[in-house]
């Protein structure tokens, strides 16, 4: 196991077919390169064609430094592939995956409110968490949900997702044309006329509500594994 608390600016360890270099990115570039140079020179012929991993631990934003070190190493040594450490998974994520792998959602109790049918003008629907409506939402109707709002139909009317302050909620509709949208505490007026022909969703980006084509930019496509919500 690599000792991340090491005070040495650079540490080298043999891993499989190559070497793993752990470095402290807070140190000046010159010192780091000098230290790495020393260590690799000590390896002599063992370093030839060996793969190398440059690891900065949990620190972020040191891509330029790593690039500089890579260039230096390529110019001075005959190493194999020089890469960076894979992104570390956090323990809770691992646990969630283990749970989901064993179909943990079989025991999942949900506050999702799923309704079918048409929501008419003057009707207001409040959902504790996510709200799914299989049907149209007419102009003058109002939806309020603690989580996401999914409308499998035409969405007119007023929608508030992530009530009162969850800004990671989304609003999705097959025909997206609400008169007013609000996610958490951020609100926006709906488009005048037009729109509503394709499946779109609204989400918050940089404190603004952004509408995107769902098929092109689904926010859930990034999730590699189904999660119970």
């Amino acid at each position: 196991m690599i000792n991340f608390e090491s005070v040495a600016p650079v540490k080298l360890k043999g891993v499989g077919k190559g070497f793993w270099i752990t470095l402290d990115p807070s140190q000046p570039e010159k010192i780091l390169i000098c230290e790495i140079d020393k260590l690799i020179r000590k390896l002599k012929h063992l370093a030839v064609n060996a793969d190398l991993v440059l690891d900065v631990g949990d620190a972020k934003g040191h891509d330029a430094l790593i690039e500089q070190i890579k260039i230096y190493l390529r110019e001075n040594f005959e190493l194999g592939h020089i890469g960076t450490s894979p992104v570390k998974r956090s323990v809770p994520l691992e646990r969630i995956r283990q749970r989901d792998l064993s179909s943990g959602w079989n025991q999942h109790r949900s506050d999702v409110l799923m309704l079918r049918g048409r929501v008419r003008s003057g009707q207001a629907i409040n959902a504790k968490k996510h709200l799914v409506i299989t049907g149209d939402v007419n102009p003058g109707a109002e939806l309020i949900a603690g989580g996401d709002v999914i409308v499998l139909g035409k969405l007119f009317g007023k929608v508030h997702a992530g009530y009162p302050d969850r800004e990671d909620a989304i609003i999705f509709a097959l025909g997206f044309n609400p008169s007013h949208v609000k996610i958490g505490s951020i609100s926006a007026l709906g488009s005048e006329g037009g729109g509503g022909s394709s499946s779109e969703f609204a989400s918050v980006e940089n404190n603004k509500i952004i509408i995107k084509d769902y098929m092109k930019a689904s926010p859930f496509r990034r999730l590699p594994w189904p999660e119970a919500i």
Binding site: R118, S121, D136, N138
Partner: protein
């Protein structure tokens, strides 16, 4: 067999509830039914004017509900159409004078005496509207093809559903030329939002205004497009459920002219 009480409502005012009530009532009477038309717009009566019976009013629906007179005394017989009666509204009272129990009792009596009772509901969703749907067994929602009328009709449909009434839709004042030019919603657009069973499509017709002002029944005018449309609605209500719908067409269009030349319509 007991009669049916049909309430005509819309939410929004000025969409043609009163015209629809009088025309459908007259058309049902022409079909041989005994029909009572009841004006439930207490304080703002005008069904009597539209039917040309304003000079013959002695008692009104408030008197009937308050048991000051019998239904037979308040019902004014139309002289042009047999079996057609009007029970007018009171012009001097307000909508709060009617009690729900009183209306229910009168509705029960009306059912025994008539085949059809058509109730003209006031605009809005307040007390007057509530009173007019108390005894109703069926509901007709009148809607013009404009966004605000659709919004209000949608609200009324929701309320009617909540009272276990399944309303039918009449799309009134359709102007095919303007629909074609994209200036007006089409009846398909209206039906798409309201999503209830259609009772009929009524085209815009200048003769309606003349008929209302002169108090002559629209359905007696054979050259009135709206009148004919209301007759078809009455036939559907009277049991001819399969009568096909005729979408109003723009008669000035070239295709219309060609079609008529060749006797296609």
């Amino acid at each position: 067999m007991e009669g049916k009480i049909i309430v005509v409502t819309s939410g929004k005012g000025g969409v043609g509830k009163t015209t629809t009530t009088s025309a459908i009532g007259a058309a049902l009477a022409l079909e041989g039914n005994r029909v009572a038309i009841v004006d439930m717009d207490i304080g703002l009566r005008n069904l009597d004017v539209v039917m040309g019976l304003e000079n013959r009013i002695v008692f009104n629906i408030v008197d009937v509900v308050q048991q000051k007179c019998k239904i037979e005394q308040a019902a004014i017989r139309d002289r042009r159409i047999e079996n057609l009666f009007l029970i007018p509204a009171s012009q001097s009272d307000n909508k709060d004078v009617l009690s729900t129990a009183g209306i229910e009792r009168v509705a029960e009596d009306l059912r025994k005496q008539f085949d059809y009772i058509i109730m003209d509901s006031p605009a809005g969703i307040e007390r007057g509207f509530e009173n007019s749907i108390v005894g109703a067994s069926e509901a007709l929602v009148v809607c013009t093809p404009d966004v605000s009328a659709v919004r209000d009709a949608d609200r009324v449909i929701g309320i009617l559903y909540s009272r276990s009434l399944t309303p039918k839709l009449i799309v009134n004042r359709i102007e095919p030329g303007r629909v074609k030019r994209g200036e007006m919603l089409s009846h398909e657009d209206v039906m798409d939002v309201l999503a209830i069973e259609l009772a009929g499509l009524v085209p815009m017709d200048d003769k309606v205004l003349i008929s209302s002002n002169t108090g002559t029944p629209l359905v007696l005018q054979n050259d009135s497009k709206a009148g004919q449309a209301f007759k078809r609605i009455a036939r559907r209500l009277n049991g001819e459920a399969d009568l096909p719908f005729e979408a109003p067409t723009d008669r000035s269009s070239m295709w219309g002219k060609i079609s008529r030349t060749f006797g296609l319509r």
